[in-house]
Structure formats: structure tokens, C-alpha cells
């Protein structure tokens, strides 16, 4: 990396943060116009640091349409942006768009993929990246208040970090961080999926409106990390026994049927604006590579907050933590490294509004 034009990919999900938590709690809705503004800020940032081509997932939810209008205006104003190309795919407004875009971006050899969305969107991208096995890192941007995996961070900074990695200014061993995930397998791989933060087992056994928010239905949680600062079901683990993103192992939490039989009644922020008392039976570390068999006879597995995999009595559900499963751009470390190494210092060139200093930098 570092040779030839630097290219990155962007997958921006137009429909994340529209689920039932807007009504049952007061979860935020990030409007399309805001999502487009986030993308524009990423584009500005990456272009300023030498990325001149961006491949984007097309969508029918309004981001492409509004972004195209904005870029047209920006071009009229002679503002500098990288070349933005939409991937050659026909969006159908389901999660398959994300899968297909991740597939196409891997094939085109982008240096990194910026993902705008919630936990679910990030999960979909990572799932596809696992299939491709290209090791392309992602940089996540949360587009809601409901997410544990992607960071709430100003997108300009994320864009800068991505560009520092994509242009080779910062080497991968400094720019990237390894991540854990949880594999869920039903009947020895008959059905198979992943979770980036939490695989939660619920008694509910139907998918309904997908989002999981009724704590009385919870059976157990399997967590890659448990952050007391996180929102969502993983916060239950975070409040019991914190486990960091980069720490080895995960956490398994088993819930009691009711408060009376619970060892602990824990009050946790299981969704934005929603604190619930959750009856805890016990919890235990989840070492990497060790399969946990779910003892529940019939239910649904929710992956990163959404009911995805219903199972019946007799179905054998196993969950396993994997370490070093995929890479993310470590934004904080990139920016600190850039400061430490003076990467963004350059000679004063007062007469050039758009310095192309990066083209002449030393290798």
C-alpha cells in the first residue's frame, strides 16, 4: 500500500435507526440529510490527506440521490472532493445490498471500508469480509444512539485516520486493531452467523419487528466485550463485569426466570432511554475457541440487538468467541501517531489553496 492512487470504500446504510426503539424508548433517528453530511465530511477529510477515489454503495433510501445533488453543488463551487463512484449493483433496499457492496469493495481492492450504520450494518459488512478473507479493515461510524460496536465520533477524524492508513502514511501494525466476534451455529453449521458485540438468546422465538427490547424474554447473553459505557444489551455485561474490546475472551451472562430466583437484580441501559431491572442468575468468562451450548429449548438468537435466528426444541445452538477475527482502523491511535510523527506538518505554501504536498512527500 502507499503506491498508486489510494482508494477507499464507503457503505452508508440509509435505513438503520428506524426500528421500534424510536417508539418504545426515545432512540434517535439520524436523518438522511445528516448521514449525507457525515459522508461529505469523510470525503473532504480523506481527499485532504491523499485519497482521490472513493467507491460507494448505491442505495434507494436517499443517500445516493442527496449526495449526488450535494457533490454537484460542491463541484460548481470548485470545492475539492475525491472522485466518487457508485458500485455497479442494483440496490434492493435489504441487507443484501450491504453484503453485495462489501463483496464488490473487496474485489476492487480498496484499502479500507468506512461504514455508516448501526451494529447491524457493521455486522453485515464483517460477515461478508469474513467470507472474502481479504483482511480489509473497516472504520465504523455510528448513525444512531443505539450502537455498541461503531464509535460515536466526528467523521472528519475517522476519515483522516482512514486516509492515513490507506495512503500508507501509517503502517498497518500501527493503524489497525484486531477485533473479536461471536460465531453462532445451529445444528453444527446448518445455520451460521456472527455477532460483533452480543449474541442474545431470547424466549421470544419469532422475529417480529426484529429489535429486541423486552428484557423479560431474555435467556442468556454472549458478549465479545462488555463496556459499562456502552448502550444496549451488552451493557448488562458491562455493568456486571467489564471486558474490553481488546481484552482476551468474552463474557457469558445467564439470566434468571424472575427476580425471586435471581442472584442479582441489575439495572442496565438496555436501549437508549430505557433502563430495566434484569434478573441475573450467574455469569462466566467466555474463553476464545470454546463452544457454549445454549440450553434453551426453542427461542430466537438476536445478533447485535436484532432477532435473526429462530430455533426450535431439538435445534442445537452453539456460540463460540473468536479473537483476531477482523480488523478495524484504530482512529485514536492513527491520530496520535500522526501527531507524534508530525505527519501532518508540511512546508508553508501561502499561494496554494489546495496544496498537493502529499504527492511529493517522501516515501
Amino acid at each position: 500500500m502507499g503506491e498508486g492512487p489510494a482508494t477507499i470504500g464507503i457503505i452508508a446504510n440509509p435505513v438503520s435507526a428506524r426500528d421500534i426503539r424510536r417508539v418504545v424508548a426515545n432512540a434517535s433517528n439520524l436523518q438522511i440529510a445528516d448521514r449525507v453530511n457525515i459522508v461529505l465530511r469523510v470525503l473532504t477529510a480523506v481527499h485532504s490527506l491523499g485519497v482521490n477515489r472513493v467507491l460507494m454503495m448505491p442505495d434507494r433510501g436517499g443517500i445516493r440521490a442527496m449526495l449526488s445533488r450535494h457533490l454537484g453543488r460542491e463541484r460548481n463551487l470548485h470545492h475539492q472532493f475525491p472522485a466518487v463512484e457508485f458500485l455497479d449493483m442494483e440496490p434492493i433496499s435489504t441487507v443484501d445490498d450491504t453484503f453485495q457492496a462489501a463483496r464488490l469493495l473487496q474485489a476492487s481492492g480498496v484499502a479500507a471500508i468506512v461504514v455508516l450504520g448501526g451494529d447491524g450494518t457493521h455486522r453485515a459488512v464483517v460477515r461478508e469480509l469474513m467470507n472474502g478473507d481479504t483482511g480489509i479493515p473497516i472504520a465504523g461510524l455510528s448513525t444512531g444512539t443505539n450502537n455498541a460496536f461503531p464509535e460515536m465520533r466526528e467523521s472528519t477524524l475517522t476519515g483522516m485516520a482512514v486516509a492515513l492508513h490507506a495512503t500508507g502514511m501509517i503502517a498497518p501494525e500501527y493503524a489497525l486493531a484486531p477485533n473479536k466476534l461471536i460465531e453462532v451455529s445451529i445444528n453444527e453449521g446448518q445455520r451460521h452467523d456472527i455477532a460483533l458485540v452480543d449474541a442474545v438468546i431470547s424466549h421470544e422465538r419469532h422475529i417480529g419487528a426484529r429489535a429486541l427490547w423486552k428484557t423479560e424474554s431474555l435467556h442468556s447473553l454472549y458478549l465479545t466485550f462488555a463496556d459499562p459505557e456502552a448502550i444496549g444489551l451488552s451493557a448488562i455485561g458491562g455493568m456486571l463485569q467489564p471486558v474490553g474490546r481488546r481484552d482476551p475472551g468474552g463474557l457469558a451472562v445467564h439470566l434468571a426466570d424472575d427476580g425471586a430466583s435471581a442472584g442479582v437484580l441489575l439495572r442496565a441501559p438496555i436501549a437508549p432511554g430505557m433502563l430495566r431491572d434484569v434478573p441475573i442468575a450467574h455469569w462466566e468468562p467466555m474463553p476464545a475457541g470454546q463452544a457454549f451450548t445454549v440450553p434453551l429449548q426453542g427461542g430466537v438468537v438476536a445478533l447485535d440487538g436484532e432477532r435473526e435466528m429462530p430455533f426450535d426444541a431439538g435445534d442445537r445452538v452453539r456460540v463460540t468467541l473468536r479473537e483476531n477475527a477482523f480488523s478495524t482502523v484504530d482512529v485514536a491511535r492513527c491520530l496520535h501517531t500522526a501527531a507524534h510523527m508530525g505527519l501532518l506538518r508540511h512546508p508553508s505554501q501561502p499561494h496554494r489553496r489546495h496544496p498537493s504536498w502529499q504527492a511529493t512527500r517522501s516515501p
Binding site: R18, N26, A209, A313
Partner: protein
């Protein structure tokens, strides 16, 4: 046997299926009869969109009001309007829901809380504010629901109603049935803000987008929104993303559709097929239990058509009645 995984009893599931199947048979039959020239006027069919009507209306009683659209047959059936009277009405016959004076676009039955299909796009939203206001005064926990298509969501009446409902904290619910087309014009062209949840947010209302072809997704989301409204939590918006099996109106050649689009939505996005697959896969209802409902729905529709064809037409004596209560 793991039991019923769904939040509805088996009887309720069968009722929902019967509602959806009856709508489907009703609409597909109208498609055929209109093509034969048996039906006067304009007809807009709801086929393909049944899960939204059924998933919402199953939460409602007769005291809850709805205002429908020009594509209203499904809402009527799901709200409990008599199918036989509806068919008489669509055929323009005496004894129809509106005695032959309304037709397909204006079927109403206030005793069932059905405030009328409406030939004016977006007109139902202010009416629903009024119905919700009346419910607020009555204090019985009733709600009112306005249905609007993605196209009519651009009407000022709709946007003004979102504001009024928010200002007055009405037990009003706004359902956007997004089938992707305003007549022949793509939603992508005609709606400047691409998410209806964004529109609701602009008025400070919560909103949800659900897969409107998935009965269970609609059921759960609608249930929460309706409960919230009943308990004084105020108005909300529900966007159901759905598909339209037929044209804007009957006789529409639908040349604006993409190649293979109709085959795809019938094959892969049929809410009835999805429902049947979900309940049979869960082992709650067998295909053998659904089949008789299919036959009964067909029989109900065939009987309604036969009676409608045989029924008398209105006469000159009917022309000038029912303009006023008194005049």
C-alpha cells in the same frame, strides 16, 4: 413440540390469515371482473399489501377509527366492513355499503370505525385528527389511524396533520403505505426526503420503518404504536414498505415497472406466502389448516360477486335522497 412462538394465539393467527386471504381473493377477483368490463368507474387494488392492513387492524376495535385511501378495500375488510356489501357497492348496486352512491373509492362504515376510503389524496389525515380529538374527549382509550400512500405523504394536509396531532398530543397514528409508486411516479423521484421517519422527526414524532410484507413485523410495531397512543403517549408514524401487485388503477399497463419486477415481487415478496411459511415452519398451523381458509375466502368472494351481479340497481328515487339529514 415447542408450542406457539408467536405473540398471537392460534385463533388470532388464523383470523389474520383469513383477513389477508379474503382481501387477496377479493382484489384478484375484482381484477378479473374489471377486465371483463363488469365494474364501472375507477378501481385501485390492494393485493400485495394485505399484511399492513391485517397487522394493524388486528389491534383495533370498532371504537377505533381509520381513514383510508383510494386503495381502500383491504382496510375495509380488515376493519370488519361486510364483504358482501362492499361488493354490491363496487358493482354500484342497491344495498351496497353506500347504497351504490360511493363506489370503490368511497366505501365507509362508521359503525365499524371505517371513516371512508377517500378519493382525495391526503384528505384522511385531518379527519383522523378530528377522530382522535373526539377519542381524546371520550377518554375510552380509542385511537384513530390515517393511512396514506408514499405519494400522498407529500400533501400539505398530511404534513399539517402531523403538526396538529403533535401540538394537540392526539391519539392519532399515521401509517405511510410505501409501495414505491405514486401512481406511475417512483417514490424516489417524488419525495424529497427519503425517509418517512425523517418526516415524522421533523414534527417531533417518533417513527418506525418496518417490512410491510411481514405480518409479524407490522403486528409488533403497530402494537407498540397503538398502545402508546391509547395510553396518552401521543401520535406516531409507521412506515410500511410494501409492494403493489397491480397497477395504480385497473387498466394501468404498468410500463414504468422494471423488467421482471412484477414476477419478482409476486415470487419473493408475497406477504401471504411469507405468513404461511412462517406459521407452518413454526409448526403452529399446518398447510392443511390453511387450505380450508383459502377455500372459504374464495367462496365468500364468489358468493359476494354472485349476489352483487343479481342485485337491483339504484333507481331515480335514490338519486336525490341522503344529501342532507334535513333540508
Amino acid at each position: 413440540m415447542a408450542g406457539n412462538p408467536f405473540p398471537l394465539s392460534k385463533a388470532e393467527l388464523l383470523k389474520a390469515y383469513r383477513t389477508m386471504r379474503t382481501i387477496r381473493e377479493f382484489e384478484e377477483r375484482l381484477h378479473v371482473d374489471f377486465g371483463r368490463g363488469d365494474i364501472p368507474g375507477f378501481v385501485h387494488l390492494y393485493a400485495g399489501e394485505e399484511a399492513a392492513a391485517a397487522g394493524i387492524m388486528i389491534h383495533l376495535g370498532d371504537g377505533d377509527r381509520i381513514a383510508s385511501t383510494h386503495r381502500g378495500h383491504g382496510h375495509c375488510i380488515a376493519k370488519g366492513v361486510d364483504v358482501g356489501e362492499m361488493m354490491l357497492e363496487i358493482y354500484g348496486k342497491k344495498g351496497g355499503s353506500c347504497n351504490g352512491k360511493g363506489g370503490s373509492m368511497h366505501i365507509a362504515d362508521l359503525s365499524k370505525g371505517m371513516m371512508g376510503a377517500n378519493g382525495i389524496l391526503g384528505a384522511g389525515a385531518p379527519l383522523v385528527c378530528g377522530a382522535a380529538l373526539a377519542a381524546k374527549y371520550r377518554k375510552k382509550g380509542e385511537v384513530a389511524i390515517s393511512f396514506v400512500g408514499d405519494g400522498a405523504s407529500n400533501q400539505g394536509t398530511f404534513l399539517e396533520s402531523l403538526n396538529l396531532a403533535a401540538v394537540w398530543n392526539l391519539p392519532a397514528i399515521f401509517v405511510v403505505e410505501n409501495n414505491g409508486y405514486a401512481e406511475s411516479t417512483s417514490r424516489d423521484y417524488g419525495v424529497a426526503v427519503d425517509s418517512y421517519v425523517d418526516r415524522a422527526a421533523g414534527f417531533g414524532l417518533p417513527g418506525i420503518t418496518v417490512d410491510g410484507t411481514d405480518f409479524f413485523a407490522v403486528y409488533e410495531a403497530a402494537g407498540e404504536i397503538i398502545r402508546r397512543a391509547r395510553e396518552g403517549g401521543g401520535p406516531s408514524l409507521l412506515e410500511c414498505k410494501m409492494v403493489r401487485f397491480h397497477g395504480h388503477f385497473e387498466g394501468d399497463a404498468q410500463t414504468y415497472r422494471g423488467p421482471g419486477e412484477l414476477d419478482d415481487i409476486r415470487a419473493n415478496h408475497d406477504c401471504l406466502k411469507k405468513f404461511a411459511a412462517q406459521v407452518t415452519a413454526a409448526g403452529v398451523i399446518s398447510a392443511d389448516e390453511l387450505a380450508p381458509i383459502d377455500r372459504e375466502a374464495l367462496a365468500v368472494v364468489e358468493d359476494a360477486v354472485a349476489r352483487a351481479k343479481a342485485a337491483p340497481l339504484p333507481t331515480v328515487a335514490d338519486l336525490t335522497t341522503d344529501v342532507y339529514v334535513s333540508y
